[in-house]
Symmetry: C2
Subunit: 234 residues, 2 copies
DNA sequence: AAGCTCATTATGTCTATATATATAAGCAAT
DNA sequence: ATTGCTTATATATATAGACATAATGAGCTT
C-alpha cells in the first residue's frame, strides 16, 4: 500500500505518512525518519517533505521539535474548525429566504455586568439592539447586541431597520480580536416568544465580543432556534 | 506604519499585510499586488511572500485564485478553531484532579435511531456504556456511548471500569472520519442526577460519531455540567 | 553524582529558480 | 449571443542549497 514513487507531491507524501500512521507502521509516540531521509525515500526534496510534515503537525497528527525530530502523537488533539459566517449567508446557503427585523433600538447606560464583561467605564452610554433573523419566515436567530459607540460614533446614526448590525459592523469596523463562546441557555419569556418556543427550553447560544486594537467594540448574544446544531466533519 | 525593511520573515510579511487590511490600505474586495511585486517591495522572494499569503488565506482573510490574484475578503469568514482534547486532558489542564467512573455497561441490540444514525443493520449487537467524568469530584461530563464491535471485537472484553472508552478507542482505533456536533439539550432525570442539577436544565451537549474507513465505530453523547462554555479567541 | 561545555543534528526558514496549472480576457467561429 | 480556442498571467508547487536555531547527548570537570 502506498508505494513511494517518484515525483510525489506534498499531498501524496501527506497521504502516505497518514496511511503509515493509521497502519501503525509508525506507531504512536515513535519517531519518524528525518526530513532528509524521507526526502530520499520519496525521491523528493526536504522542502517538499517539510511542507507535508508541517501541515500534518498543524492538523494535530505529529509533533515536531528541532533536533528532537518528528513524533507521532498518540492522542491526536484534533482541531475542529468551524466557520462562522454571517447569519444571512448561513441562511442563504441552505436555499432558504433570509429576512431581518429590528425589534428594539435604544441608547442606554451600560448595565453593570456589561461594563465588567467588556471592561468599559460604569454608566457609559451604549447602543442596545435586539433583532430577529428568519429563514423562510421561520425564526432562526434572536440577536441581542450592545455596541460601544466610543470608537465608532457613526453607529449612533446608522440605520438598523433594514439590515443587521453585524452587516454594518463588518463593513465599518474590522475587528482585531474576537472572543467566541458557545453555551446552552434556558429560554426566558422574550427569547421563547421570538423563537416561537416555550420558556425554559434549552437554547444553543453564541456569545461574541470583539475588540479593535484593545478597545471593546461590541458584544452579541445570539440565540438559535430550537433544533439548531453546529456541525463539523474532519 | 509597518515600513517594509529588508530581510523580512514570512511572519513579518503576514503582519504587514494584516495591518494594511485593518487600515484599509487594501480595502475589502480589492486586489493585492501580485506575489512578484510584493516580493520586490519587501525585498524578499516570491516563495516567502507566497507562504505569508497562503497562511492568511487559510486563516480566512484573503481569497486566492490562480490568475485572478489575491483579494481581501470583505466579510472575513473567520474560522474558529477548537481543539478537542480528551476530557481527561481538558480537566488536568485546569489543574483540577480528574476522576472517572463507569456507570453502566451493557451489550444490546442497536436501537432503531442508532441504526439509522450510524447506518448499521437493525438489531446488530452494540456495546453501550455510560460514564462520568469528574473534576475535583464535581461532575464535569456525563458520557453516553455506543460502540459497534464489528470492526473491533476486542472491545467486548476490554475493561472500562478504570478508564474511559475514549482513552481505549484512541489507542486501538485511529479513526479516519469524524462528525462533531454541538447543541443544547434539556436535562432528563438521569442526566440531571449525574450532573447534579435539575431536570429540564439546559445542557451543552456534544455528539460525535467516528468511522474507520467507512465503517461506523462509535457514537458518543457528551453532556457537560451546567455553566460549561466552549470558548475560543482569535 | 552532579554540573558544565560543546559538537552534532533535526527542524525552521530564506533565497533563487523553474515548471505546472488554472483561468480571465480577448478573439474567432458558429 | 453563444461557443470554442488562444494567450497572458497569477498562483501552486517543486528543486537545490544555505544558514539559523534549538536541544540532545557525549565528554569533561568538579
Amino acid at each position: 500500500m502506498a508505494a513511494p514513487r517518484a515525483n510525489m507531491s506534498y499531498r501524496d507524501i501527506k497521504q502516505v505518512v497518514l496511511d503509515r500512521i493509521h497502519n501503525k507502521i509508525w506507531a504512536p509516540d515513535s519517531l519518524l525518519p528525518s526530513e532528509t531521509d524521507l526526502a530520499e525515500e520519496f525521491s523528493s526534496t526536504r522542502t517538499t517533505v517539510n511542507r507535508a510534515l508541517r501541515e500534518l503537525a498543524e492538523e494535530g497528527y505529529l509533533e515536531r521539535k528541532r533536533k528532537a525530530g518528528t513524533r507521532v502523537l498518540n492522542a491526536p488533539v484534533r482541531k475542529a474548525q468551524f466557520s462562522i459566517p454571517l447569519v444571512r449567508d448561513e441562511i442563504s446557503e441552505t436555499g432558504a429566504e433570509y429576512r431581518y427585523a429590528l425589534v428594539e433600538r435604544a441608547v442606554m447606560p451600560a448595565p453593570g455586568w456589561l461594563s465588567a464583561r467588556m471592561n468599559i467605564p460604569q454608566g457609559r452610554d451604549v447602543l442596545h439592539l435586539r433583532c430577529m433573523h428568519y429563514a423562510d419566515n421561520a425564526p432562526f436567530q434572536y440577536e441581542v447586541r450592545w455596541i460601544v459607540p466610543d470608537s465608532i460614533p457613526e453607529v449612533l446614526t446608522a440605520d438598523f431597520s433594514r439590515s443587521g448590525p453585524n452587516d454594518w459592523l463588518v463593513q465599518k469596523v474590522p475587528f482585531t480580536n474576537l472572543e467566541l463562546s458557545f453555551l446552552a441557555t434556558k429560554a426566558d419569556q422574550a427569547v421563547a416568544e421570538f423563537l416561537d418556543t416555550q420558556a425554559g427550553d434549552p437554547i444553543f447560544t453564541a456569545e461574541r465580543i470583539t475588540w479593535l486594537r484593545g478597545q471593546p467594540v461590541t458584544l452579541a448574544k445570539l440565540f438559535f432556534a430550537p433544533g439548531y446544531r453546529m456541525t463539523t466533519h474532519l
